[in-house]
């Protein structure tokens, strides 16, 4: 059973009464209409109590009709789609919507947390800095958990967000931010002139205040004019209208961030559609037409449900057809605020009083108000409000001080307007003070931006339309478009006249920041304690740090501080505004990149084959590589890896090494170029040969290692490690373009073009003979160790290198990657009679540890060639990148950690990477730390665990007994220091 819409008007407004929508709030069913926000629908049903405040858990209602709402925060939707802290005033109603109030227990009407209100005298700004320091350890265990439980507002579901998000890029001549009068006029002018225009509007309806005020434009009702303008814009080919899209940040180079709520007005997104979309908009020009926000007045009890901004009350009555109160008092320091009395009265509200602190004002307004039967309190104020969970009355004080209690259920307030200028300050400009409207207005602007209408401080409709039109026309002209912009729309230049009405110290329970419960007294306390800069005030009291981002509270707080300091407001200044201007879902900022698609996954040409063969894959940077190929009956991965290693050592194995970087280096200077980037020489390398090389960074530490093969006098192919492929390519490009631009050398990454398999083991040659037949002579004489050949086989080009990472007789065979899958299958087929086994990265790792080859764990960016036993490669006959700085004392210090091998004294002992090395009997202290285990493996060849380590003066300690101590895992393994090559140190197998 749904409640009737007790406060809905029969006519008026832009909601579609033919389209009722059912929704629930705190479990109770209600009905609203298409075109409602959750807030307007709640008000239509007479719901005023909507939430509880952050600190004192005070009852709170709906204050505004827009995204600046501080109080009406709800948890929207259920389950994994729950969205905490959603502003009811910015939530578009949909059928089936469910929302719950927050920060209350057990219920919204009876909240135990409200006891904090009784403790309010203790819980003043910054109280926690002065206490909870004792006893030690109580903070984490007692005080902090209690504070944390009390703090926070809504609750995250903690569940993975089931909806999707995406990003998009847009480009335009002109970005118009805000589709109110100024924005529509700007878009029309520029669009008519032929510009590419994007018009972004945060609301689901275009028109801004035109939808909420009873004004006329070009002789039409404002809302009707807005509808016509939107219709015309839709016909202009260069114009893109983007409703539900909030521009949240201005960035360098005319780039803006905007978030489009694609599906938030639906119960669930349509198939294939994201919930929200992040737009990055690159605009040659921009017009900020984001309007202004009405400022609350600060008086005792100003936070009670039923106290509302005057402009918001007009939005509800005029746009949504909802009467937010039946007996109304109007508290206004502006002529504009009086309009609320007239609009509400027009729709049946009884206006009890208009209280205007200004001593005088336009007689016409007063006359009109008197005709409504309202009491006029010129120079008056509101001394207090009444009602436990909602407003039942106000105590007003006349100019003379006489007080009187009026029974009202709605008090609307108007304290002037703050231009929405945040986007003008994102690139560092500061706002300027306008005495005329008693508010900050845009000071400097980001390059290419202009501001029009209320966002600029222009508070009359006619002027806003003219400014918007001019800004749009100028933007089009600046983009070289001189087409006809048409005439500026016309409307009255009614002044919004106001007098500054700033809060003064002393008022009790007068709230400056509603959501964070910052009162006048808190600001006074901050002043007393020396937190007088507005930034310190913010940090000490949390003023302006709530989810409304201080849109309502900041200026009142700063004005209060200015008063306490006896200085003018502009001198006290305002806090810096930063992106985002509205809170933005993290999901939208992440877009497509989440879960398995957080980063791209790179697959080799042999991936499908490996998967067929039962590979377990492992991440290697962005690549997936086969880690091992488990066979039936194997107990665990170690059994598998052990089998794979033995296959290589005893028969033959194949391993997909396509992920290694491959860089094509061509040109007459290619050899000389490589001489400069490798520590060792390459210009003398014969064609058809490969050489192992080491590259240093400019600071003298090892960058990468690998082989380079010379395919022709002016053609090398350089291989890099998988991890460093991109970095080495970048480095070589840098060397070629920046360091030696005169060098005639051309670089191309060909990593992707070639699929490459290692074929390793004593039977490797037989396998290749079987595979290649007459296409290539792979005898030791024709292709000796470190030989390289190119030939055609089976209709494809082949590169065959005799390289060995495993220490066995081994080759690497490469074909164009399109044939990689076929090559892998052919290798397995050709080698079946030899017992060929595919092996993965884990066995590859074991094989290289057995041979003492360094890899990523050793080339860690902090090791020198000397540390790794590669110092003898460093040529003394030539200069190369890193040579000079490699000679610094710290890099040639004999005390450095240097590469050694380790084996446990107990053959059953087990080693693990990351253990540190200590002398026998030495205490476990940093001073006794001799080094650490870089890589450890079970060696099937030796039948025991072995390791590589970096050890202080390592090579000098060969034969010493030390301990590999892993304090995290609680192991302490006696080890012997040995040379890092465990298998075939003479290289007999290699040269077989």
């Amino acid at each position: 059973m749904r409640d009737v819409q007790s406060h809905r008007l029969d006519a008026a407004g832009l909601v579609d009464r033919a389209r009722p929508l059912g929704f629930r709030f705190d479990g109770r069913a209600y009905e609203g209409f298409l075109g409602d926000t959750l807030a307007s629908a709640l008000l239509a049903n007479g719901v005023r109590l909507v939430g509880r405040s952050f600190k004192y858990h005070r009852p709170r209602g709906i204050v505004t009709a827009g995204p600046e709402e501080p109080n009406a925060l709800v948890a929207l939707r259920e389950g994994a789609r729950r969205e905490p802290n959603s502003k009811a005033t910015a939530v578009e109603l949909f059928d089936g919507l469910s929302a719950r109030s927050q920060n209350r227990w057990p219920s919204l009407a009876f909240d135990a947390g409200a006891v904090n209100g009784l403790l309010a005298p203790l819980l003043v700004a910054g109280f926690y800095y002065k206490t909870f320091k004792w006893p030690s350890g109580f903070w984490e265990r007692v005080y902090e958990p209690a504070i944390r439980r009390a703090a926070g507002l809504g609750r995250s579901s903690g569940l993975p967000d089931p909806d999707s998000y995406e990003g998009a890029y847009a480009f335009c001549d002109l970005l118009v931010i805000g589709a109110g009068p100024a924005g529509l006029a700007a878009a029309l002018a520029a669009g008519r002139a032929g510009a590419r225009v994007i018009l972004c509007e945060e609301d689901f309806a275009l028109g801004g205040r035109l939808l909420c005020e009873r004004d006329a434009v070009d002789g039409r009702p404002a809302a009707a004019w807005a509808a016509r303008a939107v219709a015309e814009l839709a016909t202009l080919p260069g114009v893109t209208l983007m409703a539900r899209t909030a521009v949240f940040g201005a960035y360098d180079g005319g780039t803006f961030g905007a978030v489009e709520k694609v599906s938030d007005h639906l119960a669930v997104p349509d198939p294939g559609r994201p919930r929200q979309r992040l737009w990055r908009i690159a605009a040659r020009r921009s017009v900020l037409a984001a309007g202004a926000i009405e400022r609350p007045l600060v008086f005792p009890g100003n936070d009670r449900p039923g106290v509302m901004m005057a402009a918001a009350s007009r939005s509800y009555v005029n746009r949504f057809g909802v009467l937010p109160g039946r007996r109304v008092a109007v508290l206004t320091a502006t002529d504009d605020g009086w309009r609320a009395a007239f609009d509400l009265a027009e729709r049946g509200a009884r206006i009890e009083a208009v209280i205007d602190p200004r001593p005088a004002g336009p007689p016409a307004l007063e006359e009109r108000a008197r005709r409504l039967g309202a009491r006029l309190l010129r120079g008056g104020r509101v001394a207090g409000t009444h009602g436990r969970l909602g407003l039942t009355g106000v105590t007003v004080a006349a100019a003379g001080g006489r007080t009187e209690r009026l029974p009202v259920d709605l008090l609307v307030m108007s304290g002037g307007y703050n231009p929405n200028l945040a986007l003008t300050t994102h690139l560092g400009a500061r706002p300027a003070w306008s005495e005329e409207i008693a508010a900050f207005v845009p000071g400097g602007l980001p390059p290419g931006m202009s501001v029009a209408g209320a966002a600029r401080g222009t508070l009359s409709l006619g002027a806003a339309l003219r400014e918007g039109h001019a800004a749009g026309r100028e933007a089009a002209e600046a983009c070289g478009l001189g087409g006809c912009a048409g005439e500026a729309p016309r409307a009255d230049d009614e002044a919004a006249g106001l007098a500054a009405s700033w809060p003064v110290a002393g008022a009790r329970k007068a709230f400056v920041d509603f959501q964070h419960d910052v009162t006048v007294a808190d600001v006074a306390l901050a002043h007393r304690e020396g937190f007088r800069s507005v930034e310190l005030l913010k940090r000490y009291t949390t003023l302006g740090m709530a989810t409304d981002q201080g849109k309502l509270s900041n200026l009142n707080g700063h004005a209060l501080m200015a008063g306490l300091l006896g200085r003018p407001i502009p001198e006290v200044g305002t806090t810096a505004a930063r992106a985002p201007t509205v809170p933005v879902a993290i999901g939208a900022l992440a877009g497509h990149a989440r879960g398995r698609h957080f980063k791209p996954t790179r697959l080799t040409a042999g991936h499908a084959l490996a998967a067929e063969r039962g590979a377990t894959f492992v991440e290697a940077g962005q690549w997936l590589r086969p880690q091992w190929f488990a066979a039936p009956g194997e107990a665990d991965w170690l059994a598998t890896v052990t089998r794979e290693v033995r296959a290589v050592r005893e028969a033959v194995g194949i391993c997909d090494v396509s992920t290694l970087g491959k860089i094509d280096v061509q040109g007459p200077d290619a050899g000389a170029f490589l001489d400069r980037v490798y520590v060792n020489g390459f210009s003398g390398l014969p064609v058809g040969r490969a050489r192992y090389g080491v590259m240093l960074r400019e600071d003298g530490f090892v960058l990468d290692d690998g082989t380079a093969a010379r395919l022709a006098p002016d053609h090398f192919v350089v291989s890099t490690t998988t991890a460093n492929a991109a970095r080495v390519m970048k480095h070589l490009t840098y060397c070629a373009q920046v360091l030696w631009p005169e060098a005639d050398v051309q670089l191309a990454s060909v990593t992707e073009a070639w699929a490459q398999y290692a074929v390793a083991g004593p039977r490797a040659r037989r396998l290749l003979e079987a595979l290649l037949g007459a296409a290539a002579d792979v005898s030791d004489a024709a292709l000796p160790f470190m030989g390289a050949r190119e030939f055609e086989w089976a209709g494809v080009p082949v590169r065959l290198f005799r390289l060995s990472f495993s220490g066995e007789l081994a080759y690497e065979i490469a074909v164009p990657a399109a044939y990689g899958d076929a090559l892998g299958r052919a290798l397995l087929a050709a080698g079946a009679f030899l017992g060929v086994a595919p092996y993965g990265s884990e066995a590859l790792g074991v094989l290289r540890i057995e041979k003492g080859h360094v890899a990523g764990n050793e080339i860690s960016g902090t090791t020198t060639a000397g540390d790794l036993g590669l110092g003898r490669l460093m040529s003394r006959k030539k200069d190369f990148v890193g040579r000079a700085l490699a000679g610094r004392p710290g890099l040639v210090d004999p005390d450095r950690l240097r590469l050694v091998g380790l084996r446990p004294l107990d053959p059953a002992g087990r080693l693990s990477g990351g253990a540190h090395l200590l002398a026998p009997g030495a205490a476990a202290t940093t001073a006794n730390d001799l080094g650490y285990v870089t890589s450890a493996a079970f060696s099937p060849s030796l039948g025991r665990w072995i390791a590589l380590a970096l050890l202080r003066r390592g090579p000098e300690r060969i034969g010493e007994h030390l301990r590999a101590v892993d304090l995290l895992r609680g192991t302490d393994v006696p080890v012997e220091v040995c040379p890092p090559v465990f298998v075939d140190p003479e290289g007999v197998r290699l040269h077989a």
């Binding site: 294939g272 996954t601 499908a608 066979a631 059994a639 028969a651 191309a748 164009p816 044939y819 009679f833």
Partner: protein
């Protein structure tokens, strides 16, 4: 090494069964290529987006030798009738297109020929340019239809509006986190815009996921990956 495992088992290299060479792996077998996108072809139901892999292309990177860009252009004009346009644009003549991808650097696209394409091009440009075969290095998709720009806009940070990216324009850029070479292809016969996108082979699956996710709202359905399967097995010459 992975974290936990028992001590090594006693399993022996069980696959080691020496025997005789398999006749199926004879040297004269020919290898079947696997296209980077597995021959992808898809379309949204209403044809707003059509995706088709361009298979068998000859692809190569071409970089002029120092100071020889002018000679290179002259040779291309004389030998292939191709007038090389400067900048990030496509220069076409017959079956050959050169996509400008950097200063003095092009991505050469031949309508066919696979890896042999680069050999011929290298011969033509001997001494004037470094030519590296990339026919396997990239997969090329032809994307076309009225929704094509809306889909590309979801990942490509380049203005593709016809006023900014005209016929023949090209860009080396990104699609999401994947690097691409992108150029305006000839419009479709029905007048709809078409783009070619070249993606490094190893990224094909990730690009494909991005593309289908981005085009889902236009009805391009994401099916099982048509990646490399058994299609690449060795086959004997027919």
């Amino acid at each position: 090494m992975p974290e936990a495992a028992s001590m090594p088992g006693t399993s022996r290299p069980g696959t080691s069964r020496p025997g005789t060479p398999s006749p199926g792996a004879a040297a004269e077998a020919s290898l079947r290529p696997v296209p980077a996108f597995g021959g992808l072809a898809a379309s949204s139901p209403d044809g707003r987006l059509v995706v088709r892999e361009r298979e068998g292309l000859g692809l190569a990177t071409v970089t002029a030798r120092r100071g020889r860009g002018g000679d290179l252009a002259e040779v291309l004009r004389a030998s292939r009738g191709l007038v090389l346009r400067p900048g990030p644009t496509v220069s076409r003549a017959g079956d050959l297109a050169l996509v400008g991808t950097g200063p003095e650097t092009w991505f050469a696209v031949g309508a066919g020929g696979g890896w042999r394409f680069s050999r011929a091009l290298a011969a033509t440009l001997a001494g004037l340019a470094a030519v590296a075969d990339q026919s396997s290095g990239y997969g090329v998709l032809r994307l076309s239809g009225p929704a094509v720009r809306a889909v590309l806009a979801k990942g490509v940070p380049v203005d593709l509006h016809p006023s900014a990216f005209a016929a023949g324009d090209a860009a080396v850029t990104l699609a999401g986190h994947v690097g691409i070479v992108l150029w305006r292809a000839e419009d479709r016969a029905d007048g709809e815009e078409a783009f070619d996108v070249a993606v490094f082979r190893s990224y094909a699956e990730s690009f494909r996921h991005w593309l289908f996710a981005s085009a889902a709202e236009f009805g391009l359905a994401d099916g099982p990956a048509p990646g490399p399967g058994t299609a690449g097995a060795v086959s004997r010459p027919a």
